[in-house]
Subunit: 174 residues, 2 copies
DNA sequence: TCATAATTTCAGTATTTACTGAAACTTCGG
DNA sequence: CCGAAGTTTCAGTAAATACTGAAATTATGA
């Protein structure tokens, strides 16, 4: 008789889903998307839209939008079961893969646009021949250089095999 | 006669402030805070609340709140000028310092709470003796280990002197 | 090809987050 | 201690973002 364990598991999982969802907010990810991701990460089986709706108590439109968004990120994938007409979804569970996906997506959404702004300002302020103009250009230049550099580093790291990244990290912490 | 240059500089700076503000949104930072930061980063002189209000066309309350928030992050500091009663503000302009400040703040707001959730779920699911329970515990364990590890690495890197970090990064990119 | 199950879209609404403006409070020189 | 300059707070409002629910569309297999 394992029903006590079943209850504990259910509660713990619900807790994880709810809290992970709340955290998503601080990550620029909407609550529902983070909750669905949490739900699927802790679900051994692929599940369908209706079960997601029921488990999270959300509308079909909401479930649909966020499932698609997670698929486009690559954090979950669709599964077709033979003899079943509807789609099922399962999460990528490998932590290193999750990390690299999120890192790339954030670079694309947060760093690349910043670089764009900086390069444009660099161009616009090139050759302004006043003390203030040179100071502005210099500041833009430093920012652009640093952000570009950081972007490349992030790319390299998230393109590594897990083992290599681990080695590198281990040297840093030693 | 440098008024053409002055106009170009003014436009470029306004552009930078506006666009940097828009970017702030994607970084979990509100637009005004990012705009004030951009304004001060490109301003050679320390400026006061009223000038911030005027340059960004925002209310006193808004300017005040976000200036204080930037001070609490350490991205700007207050300056007292002799013979002046009011406070002036100037930005930290060193890119490495800006990076370490932002990195630490984001760790505090994004990673630490996630670790908290994971550790709690680890505890809650310890010893649940069903296949599903063990799988859940295992997944929490992997996530917690990875996030904790990443947090330590980020700490180390953002605690480095710029020169050392550069060397490290150079090795990565070579 | 039709009936129906499943998916997608979107106008309207709810929720969350940010901002205003004015009043309350604090500080300081006279 | 008083009055003016400066700072802080916050109730009300505006703007941005996320969600619902139902209708439109598409895919399936009999």
């Amino acid at each position: 008789m394992s029903s006590a364990d079943d209850v504990k598991l259910k509660q713990s999982r619900e807790d994880f889903v709810a809290q992970w969802g709340a955290l998503g907010t601080h990550w620029g990810i909407n609550r529902t998307m983070a909750q669905i991701h949490a739900l699927l990460m802790t679900e051994p089986e692929a599940i369908g839209t209706d079960e997601v709706m029921e488990r999270l108590q959300i509308s079909r439109g909401n479930a649909h939008t966020n499932l698609k968004e997670l698929v486009s990120w690559g954090l979950i994938r669709t599964i077709v079961k033979k003899g079943e007409r509807r789609e099922f979804f399962e999460a990528e569970k490998d932590v290193w893969k999750i990390f690299t996906i999120v890192a790339r997506e954030r670079r694309r959404r947060e760093i690349d646009p910043a670089l764009g702004v900086l390069h444009q300002c660099l161009d616009d302020s090139r050759g302004i021949d006043t003390p203030e103009g040179r100071a502005f250009h210099e500041q833009m230049s430093k920012l652009a250089e640093f952000v570009g550099f950081a972007s490349n580093v992030a790319d390299r790291v998230s393109g590594m095999k897990y083992g290599i990244a681990l080695q590198l990290a281990a040297r840093l912490l030693s």
